[in-house]
Symmetry: C2
Subunit: 226 residues, 2 copies
């Protein structure tokens, strides 16, 4: 496709995969944006800059610290320990996070004449986050087009992939090396802690894919494949 | 109803009417929020404070200057003259404004255990703004509930009223005097200019309702009903 596309880019594993796929799928200009929402792992935005540079695409950071002012959660409050209880939403859930990110991305995209929005949300490994589901994305797509009289298409190439399949997709795109710079750890650690829910999910994916994660982990982590 | 409700409150004529109606409809606590989005008529927020004080309800201003950074329009850029051409969206349209306001209001409401959101959007006199339509509101309501696993109900009591009917509703609620403090003028003038599209719409409504607008206008305005 020669059309332009906007990738929602956090510097994480999933959006890094989306960026690689977008560069493969679109001939038109690819633009990326990330969000500063007071996340405890704000280091991901520094990594996003590095990867955008490797990819040769522009990267813009949008100030969304509004989100951390509006909500109480472990992801934007260092004083709240990260927890996950059976049958409950993990306390890292930030109310309305993907809703707000995709909505702001759409407004941003419209100003630049971009109608393709690409996000790495994934229902398969969605950790109980309601705003990672396909039916939410469909509904938001419809709502945004009504809101602005537009024809946005929200693409979610990872929606139904397992983390292992995402790793294999990146391998097929020849960009596994970018994962070295991608950031996943919710604790914001580099080398990664290997223990938080996000690190565990990432490590499990690589293990299932039978591929070594090029990311550096603390040496005490026993689950690091390799 | 004894349930709590949140009124999206700009200090304008419509949301002032919504506030009066909410106080009549709900026995539970009424809370209000307004948005600073770099609007040229930011004086409306000062008026909102005054009216919230008259009503005895809390009023919180949310910083949404992000919107004016994202978009180019006459409402947030003093350097762009306000214009309206046939067949085109007025250049006062702020892409995604109501979408963002209602979305942020929902996130804010959820933190306080509020599920009723009340907004003064109106399809009848919608000036070509797509995000004032009923189908948009329905779609956003559905999307927000999917995004946060909630049961929000977005109420739009003015959706199908003419401006004249809104004036008559306020009269029936016994709060016409609050209109003296409400703000409408897009140019941010107090006394109001009486000439911008917003002032003209307001004046037409009072004229059709056969009721005097208690708001002060510049004396040169001939349309002020007497």
């Amino acid at each position: 496709m020669t059309e332009k596309a906007l990738v929602l880019f956090s510097g994480g594993q999933d959006s890094t995969t989306c960026l690689a796929k977008a560069l493969s799928d679109y001939n038109g200009a690819i633009t990326t944006i990330g969000f500063d929402y007071g996340q405890r792992h704000a280091v991901e935005l520094e990594q996003a800059k590095i990867i955008a540079n490797l990819a040769g695409v522009p990267f813009t950071i949008i100030d969304m610290t509004l989100l951390s002012k509006l909500t109480q959660n472990a992801l934007t409050r260092n004083t709240i320990p990260i927890e996950s209880k059976d049958g409950e939403l993990p306390n890292t859930f930030v109310d309305g996070r993907n809703h707000m990110f995709i909505s702001v991305a759409a407004i941003y995209a419209k100003q630049q004449g971009i109608s393709h929005l690409i996000t790495g949300v994934c229902e398969t490994d969605y950790s109980g986050y309601p705003d990672c589901r396909q039916d939410f994305i469909h509904s938001l797509n419809h709502t945004l087009n009504l809101a602005m009289d537009t024809s946005f298409v929200i693409h979610t190439p990872l929606m139904h992939l397992t983390k292992a399949e995402t790793v294999l997709l990146m391998d097929s795109l020849g960009r596994l090396d970018w994962y070295k710079e991608s950031h996943t750890c919710y604790e914001g650690m580099r080398p990664a802690c290997g223990k938080c829910p996000a690190c565990k999910l990432r490590l499990k994916g690589f293990e299932e894919a039978g591929i070594s994660d090029p990311l550096a982990y603390e040496t005490t982590v026993s689950e690091v494949p390799g």
